[in-house]
Symmetry: C2
Subunit: 207 residues, 2 copies
């Protein structure tokens, strides 16, 4: 037979989401969440450090999965491709949840407290990816820049997904954002759009 | 004649830096800073919200200057170049201070509280640059990615400068980091380092 706390974490999570959506995140106390779940504040604090953490309970598992995927990706895969592939996979998992994940994103965007916490989680994820790249032999500074680029692309793709209608192919959104980042920082003097293949001044001499 | 609080802000700042360096940031109270400066706690709070803010008093002015430079850069300048030039200029100003700026950086790195505050300031800077790019007609998502890339490059360059010996040409460090970011996210199939100029399979046919 299940103990009386059976499913406590998911009951607390569901109760918290309901209340946050009904009243707004800032207007909800831990006591109210516990009450709605039919549990005590003490039980709440056995599972979560504070009322923000309810929304980030999955972050460590996601970070571990991404770090694992980056650290174990084959050597011939370029670091940025390993990072984007790992984050695309993780993002696909989140976006599969659909409306629940969009509701969570709207909640985060509604509170500066939650936006700050999200930012800190993203920097931790970036740091962990950087370390994973270093274990693959990428030098520290290049590893950090690659990790930053990957996480920036992930955040862009995720925001687009969260504000889109219907389902979306998350990896496609990631690769789209990666292409945009590449275009955004491309040196103007080498801008491919100004010299489509076969028409560059250098090669034209030989054609 | 100056009032009795004359120079209060710089006296408080100097006292705070001294104490932070002597004892470590976490071990210092506002009361101690005020005492060392020969002022009251109340005076401290007229200038700073808390003891962390002493280290970030210059952030709004720097952000305004960078945003101004980006918003007013000539139209023919590529967005990423406008952002990097503005941040290189701001960084040159900071690095001119030399040892004082390095001491500040070491303090920030020594405290998770300060690292968090620094991170939040950097995200605010990134957001402000993104808005400035939009006023130049860059679409929102491209503006955000460009701003993120610029701030990532700035942070990389600044950390390198802070951990280097002697003076450094900050803009050079920025352009170096930008080149590294470009190389890091370059599609592998177009990797220039695999085909140095003049030796690419395509061009070799004509040589």
């Amino acid at each position: 037979m299940p103990r009386w706390e059976a499913g406590a974490q998911s009951r607390l999570t569901r109760a918290a989401y309901e209340l946050y959506i009904e009243r707004g995140f800032d207007q909800v106390t831990v006591a109210e969440i516990a009450e709605r779940a039919g549990l005590t504040k003490r039980t709440f604090f056995r599972y979560f450090d504070d009322k923000r953490e309810v929304l980030f309970a999955g972050a460590p598992a996601m970070q571990d999965a991404v770090v694992d995927a980056v650290a174990t990706s084959p050597e011939h895969v370029a670091p940025i491709d390993a990072v984007v592939a790992a984050l695309a996979a993780a993002g696909s998992g989140i976006t599969q949840i659909g409306e629940g994940a969009k509701a969570r994103q709207r909640l985060i965007e509604s509170s500066s407290d939650l936006r700050e916490r999200e930012m800190i989680k993203m920097v931790a994820l970036k740091d962990a990816i950087g370390v994973a790249l270093q274990t693959r032999g990428v030098p520290a500074s290049g590893a950090d820049l690659t990790a930053q680029a990957g996480v920036a692309v992930f955040q862009t793709a995720f925001e687009r997904w969260a504000h889109s209608d219907g389902p979306a192919d998350f990896p496609s959104l990631m690769y789209e954002a990666l292409d945009e980042l590449r275009a955004a920082i491309h040196p103007a003097s080498m801008d491919a759009s100004r010299h489509p293949p076969g028409t560059s001044p250098v090669r034209a001499r030989w054609n």
